[in-house]
């Protein structure tokens, strides 16, 4: 219906690889982009900086992780530690007077280098063993941050982010922070889309699917696994820094604990492994759903139809959230991205039923 493909004739190879060949998709994206750009005018401050901005930043983090887990097929259960390295590096660099742009690059590089050290384990082990190796990274990094006062600022300390300027614009006020987050997330999105349609993305998928067959066409599996760890950790580190500066505006080690790593894995899995739109949907789902549920319960409690204890209000979102993860993985292993794709395919051939790619 909306997505009719007739009338699209490719005459050049470049055109067949366009990101959004369908006009309907381009219109939808243009509309969403306009909304995202106008959001500071349209939305109250509360929604802007406590819903939209964190959603965008966590999307960037989920995109970084989906590059590693979905496209390159290497499991990582310590990604919060990667973000922590980025966050702490950027804060220390910014406090030392390094320009924010360079502090972000430094955050990415530090996270990428340390991530690669642990990623080197991935060159030897697969599957569950890799999960163990990355879990070890989570705990080691957390331990080091907490126990080295030079990094954490002392036991139980919170480091506030200093005043910084990005491209000569001071990063203060919700609008500037929001646009920074938006800019980073859009950059990550374009990067991932382009990786997926170029030779480097194909090589990563080849190593994920069949590493021996990849080797036989000249792809060095070790090199590409390490490249995936490096790139993903770099993006994760910068996302951690953006999270610290644009959302928390202060860092403590607890913000990057093991539960956050699991949350990130859940975002990637629920959203759909390796899918860009899945990262948006997954991050939104994992972040916003508990908030929506809590508000809903508070409203039900406000009706005073039956007694609702505070304990119940605290725990029901967690239970629903767990049940929904199980449901998504049971009924749609490719996640929310696949559900979106199914809906799109339905309209693609409506009023008929059989989709041809």
């Amino acid at each position: 219906m909306f997505y009719r493909q007739s009338g699209i004739h490719h005459t050049r190879y470049a055109a067949t690889r366009k990101l959004w060949p369908l006009a309907a998709d381009r219109r939808l994206l243009g509309g969403l982009l306009a909304l995202a750009l106008l959001a500071p005018l349209l939305l109250p401050e509360l929604y802007l900086n406590s819903y939209l901005a964190p959603w965008l930043i966590w999307t960037a983090a989920a995109l970084s992780l989906t590059l590693l887990m979905g496209i390159a097929g290497q499991l990582h259960f310590g990604f919060a530690a990667v973000m922590a390295i980025g966050a702490y590096t950027s804060i220390h660099l910014a406090r030392a007077g390094v320009p924010f742009e360079l502090a972000l690059v430094g955050a990415g590089l530090a996270a990428a280098l340390i991530g690669c050290v642990f990623g080197a384990a991935a060159l030897r082990v697969k599957g569950l063993y890799l999960v163990m190796a990355t879990l070890a990274m989570q705990y080691l990094v957390s331990w080091v941050i907490i126990n080295v006062p030079a990094i954490s600022g002392g036991a139980q300390a919170t480091l506030a982010t200093p005043e910084v300027r990005l491209l000569f614009i001071p990063l203060d006020g919700d609008t500037a922070l929001y646009y920074t987050a938006l800019g980073w997330t859009l950059s990550c999105t374009l990067l991932l889309l382009n990786i997926k349609r170029s030779s480097v993305g194909r090589a990563l998928v080849a190593v994920r699917d069949k590493d021996f067959a990849a080797a036989v066409i000249g792809v060095d599996p070790l090199r590409y696994k390490l490249l995936a760890f490096f790139t993903s950790s770099f993006l994760g580190g910068v996302s951690g820094a953006i999270l610290a500066f644009c959302y928390y505006q202060a860092v403590t080690p607890e913000q990057f604990g093991f539960n956050v790593s699991i949350q990130l894995v859940a975002m990637v899995l629920v959203g759909g492994l390796g899918s860009v739109i899945g990262a948006y949907l997954g991050a939104g789902f994992i972040l916003l759903l508990p908030i929506v549920l809590t508000n809903l319960l508070a409203w039900v409690a406000g009706l005073e139809l039956f007694p609702v204890s505070f304990n119940l209000i605290a725990h029901i979102p967690l239970m629903v959230y767990g049940a929904l993860i199980i449901a998504v993985i049971l009924f749609e292993p490719l996640g929310l991205a696949k559900i979106y794709d199914n809906i799109r395919k339905y309209f693609l051939v409506w009023p008929f039923r059989h989709a041809q790619r």
Binding site: I195, I217, G218, V219, R357
Partner: protein
């Protein structure tokens, strides 16, 4: 058909195995195999199940490096190199059980065959419009030539795991050919095919050899195919070379017949 055709060059050895031996624990899978494969020929490698054909191929392509002996490609030692280094030298192969990348489309699978000639990088992808796109388009052109040669146009955009097995084998051949290999190993390209698909495959193999001048090593159990297209053949049994020569002579050798169906005196 082509057994009489002498279009290969016996003076130029492309691949040479010298006394190649390989053990798996106490089992000696290859016992001092010597081979010379000439430029432009289709060389048959036959033998009963478990005779060491795939082990020899795995030794050549670097998955199970030989513990003794040496393998040379165009006079250069390749035994001991990692598989992707050997691929870079110009040796390609297909697998007995189709080894395609299931998460990708047919086109992307074949494009991966061009990996050796591309310079994949994250930065190149980041600046796709100014950097990677030109390369993608140039290699897409070469890939389309191979798609044309192997008649894969109709399935180009399909996910690779939904097309029939015969097509999948053809996609794997296309991926290998895209690497423009000097030496191509085909490990049972016709396993599980019906007569029609087999004949198609035979034609594609001959077309590819004629169009691209690729030297090939063919492992195959269908003797009609082997006699039809292989210039010469080697027969293995229990890791030993039991016959070698022009295809028809090699597989009619009494020791070969005995290895396949037993000796007359053993018959009940």
């Amino acid at each position: 058909m082509t057994t009489t055709r002498q279009d290969h060059d016996p003076d130029e050895v492309i691949l040479e195995c010298a006394a190649v031996s390989r053990w798996f624990g106490g089992l000696q899978a290859l016992k001092g195999i010597d081979l010379h494969i000439h430029r432009g020929e289709i060389f048959g490698l036959v033998g009963p199940n478990g005779s060491g054909k795939t082990t020899l191929v795995n030794a050549i392509t670097g998955f199970y490096p030989p513990q003794q002996g040496e393998i040379r490609y165009r006079g250069e030692r390749i035994s001991g190199l990692k598989p992707h280094r050997i691929a870079r030298k110009g040796v390609a192969r297909t697998f007995q059980n189709v080894a395609l990348f299931r998460g990708l489309s047919v086109l992307d699978n074949i494009l991966l065959g061009r990996h050796l000639f591309m310079r994949p990088s994250i930065l190149g992808a980041a600046f796709y419009w100014w950097w990677a796109e030109r390369e993608e388009v140039a290699h897409r052109g070469r890939v389309e030539e191979v798609i044309d040669l192997l008649q894969l146009e109709s399935v180009r955009d399909e996910p690779v795991d939904v097309i029939p097995l015969g097509m999948q084998k053809r996609v794997e051949l296309a991926r290998a050919l895209c690497a423009e290999p000097g030496f191509l190993v085909l490990d049972e390209p016709m396993a599980g095919m019906n007569q029609e698909e087999k004949e198609y495959m035979v034609r594609f193999i001959l077309d590819a050899r004629d169009a691209m001048g690729t030297t090939m090593l063919l492992i195959e159990h269908h003797m009609d195919v082997v006699t039809a297209i292989c210039n010469r053949a080697v027969v293995l049994n229990n890791g030993e070379k039991i016959a070698e020569g022009p295809t028809r002579e090699a597989i009619n050798d009494p020791t070969v017949v005995a290895a396949y169906i037993g000796r007359v005196k053993d018959a009940a």
